[in-house]
Amino acid sequence: MKLERDAVLHIARLARIALSDEEIETFGAQLSEIIGHFDTLNAVDTEGVEPTAHTLPLRNVMVDDVSRPSLPQDEVLALAPLAEDGYLRVRAVLE
């Protein structure tokens, strides 16, 4: 199966990744090859088999609802590229 340019751009848009024309070309070919190998899964009979999300026998790990100090707001906002008045700042989402 070969991923066409439109399909690559659709995936990139879902993943929110800007690609150059060269990347669209290279990734299209490479992803097609990798996804082609996924067909080996069809050789395994999974009729009636439950999926495994993770390997531990854990269900709904609960913690006590106790308030604890979080990281200081100024320290965390100091990591942000743009911050103002205690908020993260981004360009307008709706113009």
């Binding site: 996924f38 495994t52 993770h54 320290e75 990591l79 743009l82 360009r91 113009e95």
Partner: protein
């Protein structure tokens, strides 16, 4: 006085306990060694010399006050995927090049409490995606046994640092082989514990159902010692298992008598490098000579499908985990776009390297509408089948033994343009992550001067038997004692 950079953790701790050497001397020796060889090996992204000497002085004070501990005052290197408060944690990515975490990973905190001295942060494939460190955004680490070859990956910096005697031990992370494969290629011991054994809190997430932190050491005893220090339940990681930590060092000298060793047919394929095969067959004879039984007729029929399972599940989880790099909260941020979405897409397009983008896109595709059932759900069901096959195999044996990699270290650049050829490196290691099992790589010989690793896989939470088998094997030869000449 022995060469201080050549010591094992237990030998160093012994000298420290007798006050025959100080932590400052050990630490200075490691820093001097880094200064002497790291322009060639390139294991470190960040060397924290001043901090290390301050930690060494603090350790010397604790030692002077009579305190003793297996890691107290001993130099360690940390893979740059482990959060270190106040020290850059880059994941070898442009995205986090200037990121300084506000908190420590649980394993980093545990090592600090044990008095470990961190000499620096080691290079890796970007966000732990790769098998060679060629995906580092900064530089490629060199294999200390042959500087033209890769050290393996993704924890290649940690493996190379221990092999090149730049640190007494190191920590790495393993999602599909990222500890065991570089350990094999660099000729050191590397272990991926059972999923849930070690807290992932503060480990920058790649694939959360597969990631696990583990040690790189010079021998198996050290591996057990470091595992003791980093294991244990942590409320900060909901998937850390609420199980007790046994003393992993306690039973390692029990030998291999009576041990049932199984070898899956699928892990000794005709395509296996002849030199690697010879090393593994020699290892099996060594086990038999020690009184173990070897069953060559084990089968794990879905081994080939495991590669597809891994390259669906790991990228799917990665695509969700790496959604956090949006240029808004921290890290690299492109600001020159016309809109928020453009800035976000450019931030991710420019901040991530090719392999990370490839894997995010594979995962996005596998999870997208119309493909979810065919790929992601099917992969999760085959994951169950793979687990059951391991369960069935462990009815017949106590440990599974195999090569770690199909070949010794390959040349830098050899597979860089062929992602799928690179993925095949991990064919023997990634099923272990899929099933959540413990696995170790121990040095098992050399092919044309390049190290070969033996993989020993155990039942869930049975690291003790894996370590016992590894120790028994290690003592039949001196492979783990050899050091690279680094004369190039």
């Amino acid at each position: 006085m022995p060469d201080l950079t050549d010591l094992t953790v237990h030998a160093a701790a012994g000298l420290l306990a007798k006050r025959e050497v100080s932590s400052r001397e050990l630490t200075q020796a490691a820093l001097d060694r880094i200064a002497a060889v790291d322009d060639r090996v390139k294991a470190f992204v960040t060397v924290t010399g001043e901090r290390a000497l301050a930690q060494a002085d603090a350790a010397d004070k604790r030692l002077a006050a009579g305190e003793r501990g297996p890691l107290l005052g001993v130099p360690v290197a940390l893979k740059d995927v482990l959060s270190t408060a106040g020290v850059p944690t880059t994941c070898s990515s442009r995205m986090l090049e200037h990121f300084v975490p506000p908190y420590d990973a649980t394993v980093v905190r545990r090592l600090a409490e044990a008095g470990a001295v961190s000499v620096g942060k080691t290079n890796m494939d970007e966000f732990a995606m790769g098998s060679s460190t060629e995906n580092s955004a900064f530089f490629t680490t060199r294999n200390p046994w042959d500087l033209e070859r890769v050290p393996g990956g993704s924890s290649g910096g940690s493996a190379a640092a221990v092999a090149a005697r730049e640190a007494t031990y190191a920590l790495g992370s393993d999602t599909g082989g990222s500890i065991r494969q570089p350990a094999a290629l660099c000729g050191v011991v590397g272990m991926k514990p059972t999923y849930g054994r070690v807290s992932r809190y503060g480990l920058v997430a790649f694939a959360s159902s597969l990631d696990q932190i583990g040690p790189f050491t010079r021998d198996v005893r050290d591996c057990a010692t470091v595992l003791n220090a980093i294991s244990g339940h942590d409320p900060g990681d909901a998937t850390s298992a609420p199980v007790d930590t046994p003393d992993f060092a306690a039973g390692i000298d029990a030998g291999a008598r009576g041990l049932r060793v199984g070898v899956p047919r699928e892990y000794m394929p005709p395509t296996l490098d002849a030199g690697v095969r010879r090393c593994i067959e020699d290892a099996l004879r060594a086990f038999e000579a020690q009184g173990a039984t070897v069953d060559l007729d084990l089968t794990l029929p879905s081994t080939e499908a495991a590669l597809a399972v891994y390259y669906i599940i790991a990228p799917s989880e990665a695509s969700a985990n790496l959604a956090r790099y949006d240029g808004v909260k921290y890290g690299f941020s492109w600001q020159r776009g016309e809109s928020m979405w453009e800035n976000m897409e450019e931030t991710r397009g420019r901040g991530f390297g090719a392999e990370v983008k490839r894997r995010i896109m594979i995962g996005t595709y596998a999870l997208s509408s119309g493909y979810y059932d065919a790929y992601y759900l099917k992969a999760q069901k085959v994951r169950t089948v793979i687990r059951r096959e391991f369960d069935a195999a462990f009815e017949r044996c106590d440990v599974i033994v195999s090569p770690v990699t199909p070949t010794p270290a390959f040349k830098i650049g050899e597979k860089a343009d062929d992602p799928y050829a690179m993925y095949l490196n991990d064919v023997f290691t990634l099923p272990v992550n899929i099933a959540g099992l413990p696995g170790i790589s121990v040095p098992a010989g050399f092919v044309d001067g390049l190290p070969v690793g033996l993989q020993i896989i155990g039942k869930p939470f049975d690291e003790a038997t894996v370590l016992r088998a590894a120790r028994a094997f290690e003592q039949t030869a001196d492979w783990h004692m050899r050091a690279p000449a680094l004369t190039a």
